[in-house]
C-alpha cells in the first residue's frame, strides 16, 4: 500500500499570535512551530498501517524551507521519504491543487490529512483534494482499519458517529483517537537524516483568495468576581447585564 500523509507547519498550540506594525502579516520570528496536531494523528496511524501491511509512507508539505525541522521529525517518526512543494500556502485551493498533482503522479492508495490545519484551520483541503482526484473524502475520522483494498472508517458526525466501509483510494481527515501521537526515538532521529527529502517547485496553481490584512480579537474586559455565597446575584447579572438568560 502507498500512503501519503500531508502535514502542516503551524505555530505551537500555546503560542501567542502577534502582528506586524502595518497589520499586513503575522510575526513569524520567534514563533515556535510544530507539525499540526491533527496531522500528527494522521502520521501516527499512517506509520502503524504501513508497519502492519508493508508498503511505503511519504510525507508531503506545501510550504517554505522553514518547515524542514518538522518534515525531518515526520521522517524520524517513521515516514520513508518526504516531498516539500516550495510555495507559501496561503490559499486552500492552490495548496490542494499542489497536493492533488503529487497524489496523482504517485498513485497513492490512501491520503491521510489532519481534520484541519491549526493556522488557517479551514477543514477544506481534504474535500478539495478528494474532488480534484475524483475519489471520496471523509473527515473527521476517529478510527481506521484497512482490509485488503477496503477501509473501515469510523467518522464523527454531529452528536455521534458513523461506521462506514469504502474501497481505496481515499482521502481522510484524521483526529483522535485514531492513534496516539508518536515521539521519535534515537534511531529514528539518526535515520531521518539520510532519508530522501525532495523539494519540488509548484506547478502554476491559481489562487482564488488572498489575505489583505490581519487583526487581533479585542482584549477581554476584567472578569467580574461573584462571592460563592451569593450565586443568585450571578443569575441576576446574566439576566440583566449580560442578557444571555
Amino acid at each position: 500500500m502507498k500512503i501519503l500523509v500531508c502535514i502542516t507547519n503551524v505555530p505551537d498550540t500555546t503560542a501567542k499570535i502577534s502582528l506586524s506594525d502595518d497589520q499586513k502579516s503575522i510575526n513569524k520570528a520567534g514563533l515556535p512551530h510544530i507539525i499540526g496536531p491533527y496531522d500528527d494523528y494522521a502520521l501516527a496511524r499512517g506509520v502503524e498501517l504501513r508497519d502492519q501491511s508493508g508498503g511505503t509512507l511519504t510525507v508531503l508539505h506545501v510550504g517554505l524551507a522553514d518547515a524542514e525541522p518538522q518534515i525531518r521529525k515526520a521522517l524520524a517518526i517513521g515516514a520513508d521519504d518526504a516531498i516539500r512543494i516550495n510555495m507559501e500556502p496561503i490559499d486552500s485551493y492552490s495548496t490542494a491543487e499542489q497536493i492533488a498533482a503529487i497524489a496523482k503522479e504517485g498513485q497513492y492508495d490512501l491520503i491521510l490529512m489532519g481534520r484541519e490545519s491549526l493556522d488557517y484551520n479551514s477543514g477544506v483541503v481534504h474535500g478539495l483534494v478528494g474532488e480534484m482526484l475524483d475519489i471520496p473524502s471523509y473527515s473527521p475520522v476517529m478510527k481506521l482499519e484497512i482490509n485488503g483494498s477496503t477501509a473501515s472508517i469510523t467518522r464523527e458526525i454531529e452528536g455521534g458517529k458513523e461506521l462506514l466501509t469504502c474501497d481505496l483510494p481515499l482521502v481522510l481527515g484524521c483526529q483522535e483517537p485514531i492513534a496516539e501521537w508518536k515521539i521519535p526515538n534515537m534511531r529514528g532521529i539518526m535515520t531521518a537524516r539520510s532519508k530522501p527529502l525532495t523539494v519540488v517547485e509548484p506547478t502554476d496553481a491559481k489562487s482564488h483568495t488572498e489575505p489583505t490584512g490581519f487583526s487581533l480579537p479585542a482584549p477581554k474586559g476584567a472578569c467580574k468576581m461573584i462571592s460563592s455565597d451569593d450565586v443568585a446575584s450571578l443569575v441576576n447579572l446574566l439576566q440583566t447585564e449580560a442578557k444571555v438568560l
Binding site: P11, T13, K16, I17, L19, D91, S92, A96, L118, D119, Y120, N121, S122, G123, V124, H126, G127, L128, G130, E131, M132, S139, P140, M142, S152, E156, I157, E158, G159, G160, K161, E162, L163, L164, T165, C166, D167, P177, H208, T209, E210, P211, T212, F214, S215, P217, K220, C223, K224, M225, I226, S227, S228, V231, L234, V235, L238, A242, V244, L245
Partner: protein
C-alpha cells in the same frame, strides 16, 4: 446577485446554524440587491422547509431522494454544484460544520470557485471581488481575505449575525438531482447518534466540565444545571481522553469549537488549547476553586469555590429565577 444557501436539517427541521446562514445571505442581499434561495437535502417536513422564509429566503429547493438521508458530502456537493449552475448563483453561503466544509470544498473544486471557511463578518464588495473577515489560528487572530473567482463560497461561523425571524414563508420547490453512482461508493454500516441531546454546535448555552469534576460519577450536579438551563454539555480534552464523557463533547483547539451565548466552565483550568474552542462565546462564566486559574482571565463572570458546592446552588437559583 443570486445567492444560494446550503441548509442542513436536524429532526426534519432547519438546523439553527442554517437559520443564521440564511440571515447572513439575506443581509448581503439587502445590501447588494438580489434574492436568497435555500437548498435543502434529504428529509424535511414541507411545513418546516417553508420556514426558511422566516429568516430571509424567498425560495427553497428541496432535493428529495431517500439516498440522500445519510450525510454524504460527495453527493451533496454534486447537487450543490448542479444547482449553482442552474441558478447561476454567484455567492454560496453555508453555516460552518464538518459536513458544510466538506460539501463546500468539493463543490468549490468542481466549479473552480474560491472558498473561505471560518467567516466572522459580512463581506464588502469591490468590482469583481469580495473581502471578508475570517477567524484564523483557532480564533487567536482574524484575516481579511479577498476572493476573486466568479463563484464565491463562504462558510460562516456561528454568532456572526443576529437572527430576527419574521413570519414570511418561502416557496418550496422540489428539485430532482442527477445522482451519480461514484458519489455513493461507501456503505454505511452503523450510525450512533445521541437523540434528544442538544447539539453542542447548535447550543445557546453550554455547561462544561473539566478534570476538577473528579470523575464520571460526579457529573450529576453539572447535568442538573444543564437541564435547568436547557443547555448542552461539554468537557475538556482530558475528560474525554479518560472516557469520563463521550468524545463528541470534547471542546477546544483539537475538539469542537463552540460559540454559545453562555459558556459555563466547571473545574476547567482554562489552558490556551481549551480557550481556543470557546473564544467565540458571548459570555463566559468560570467556576474554579483556584483563584489563579487562567480561565478567569478569559471570563466575564467568575466564582472562586468548590464546584460541588456551587453547582447545586446555581441550579436552585436558575429554577427560582
Amino acid at each position: 446577485m443570486s445567492i444560494l444557501v446550503f441548509i442542513e436539517t436536524e429532526n426534519k427541521a432547519i438546523k439553527k446554524n442554517a437559520q443564521e446562514a440564511i440571515a447572513y445571505a439575506k443581509a448581503v442581499a439587502n445590501a447588494q440587491g438580489g434574492e436568497v434561495t435555500a437548498l435543502v437535502m434529504g428529509d424535511i417536513d414541507p411545513s418546516e422547509a417553508e420556514k426558511a422564509g422566516n429568516f430571509g429566503a424567498s425560495r427553497v429547493l428541496h432535493a428529495a431522494d431517500s439516498k440522500l438521508e445519510h450525510d454524504n458530502s460527495m453527493a451533496y456537493a454534486s447537487i450543490l454544484a448542479e444547482v449553482i449552475q442552474q441558478e447561476s448563483s454567484e455567492l454560496i453561503i453555508l453555516a460552518k460544520s464538518g459536513l458544510a466544509d466538506a460539501v463546500a470544498a468539493r463543490a468549490a473544486a468542481k466549479l473552480k470557485a474560491g472558498i473561505v471557511s471560518g467567516v466572522t463578518a459580512l463581506p464588502s464588495f469591490d468590482g469583481d471581488g469580495l473581502t471578508v473577515q475570517r477567524s484564523i489560528f483557532t480564533g487567536k487572530a482574524f484575516s481579511d481575505t479577498r476572493i476573486t473567482s466568479k463563484i464565491k463560497i463562504l462558510v460562516v461561523n456561528k454568532n456572526t449575525i443576529e437572527v430576527t425571524p419574521t413570519t414570511d414563508t418561502a416557496v418550496v420547490e422540489t428539485f430532482s438531482p442527477t445522482l451519480n453512482d461514484k458519489d455513493f461508493k461507501a456503505t454505511v454500516q452503523d450510525t450512533e447518534k445521541a437523540t434528544g441531546d442538544i447539539l453542542l454546535t447548535d447550543a445557546d448555552i453550554i455547561v462544561s466540565g473539566g478534570r476538577g469534576m473528579k470523575g464520571p460519577e460526579h457529573w450529576q450536579p453539572l447535568l442538573e444545571l444543564a437541564s435547568a438551563l436547557g443547555a448542552a454539555t461539554g468537557c475538556s480534552k482530558p475528560v474525554s481522553d479518560l472516557d469520563w464523557r463521550p468524545h463528541h463533547e470534547h471542546i477546544g483547539q483539537t475538539g469542537i469549537k463552540v460559540a454559545p451565548n453562555l459558556y459555563i466552565a466547571c473545574g476547567i483550568s482554562g489552558a490556551i488549547q481549551h480557550l481556543a474552542g470557546v473564544n467565540g462565546s458571548k459570555c463566559i462564566v468560570v467556576i474554579n476553586k483556584d483563584p489563579e486559574a487562567p480561565f478567569f482571565k478569559a471570563a466575564d463572570y467568575g466564582i472562586v469555590g468548590d464546584v460541588f458546592e456551587i453547582l447545586p446552588k446555581l441550579t436552585e437559583a436558575i429554577k427560582n429565577r
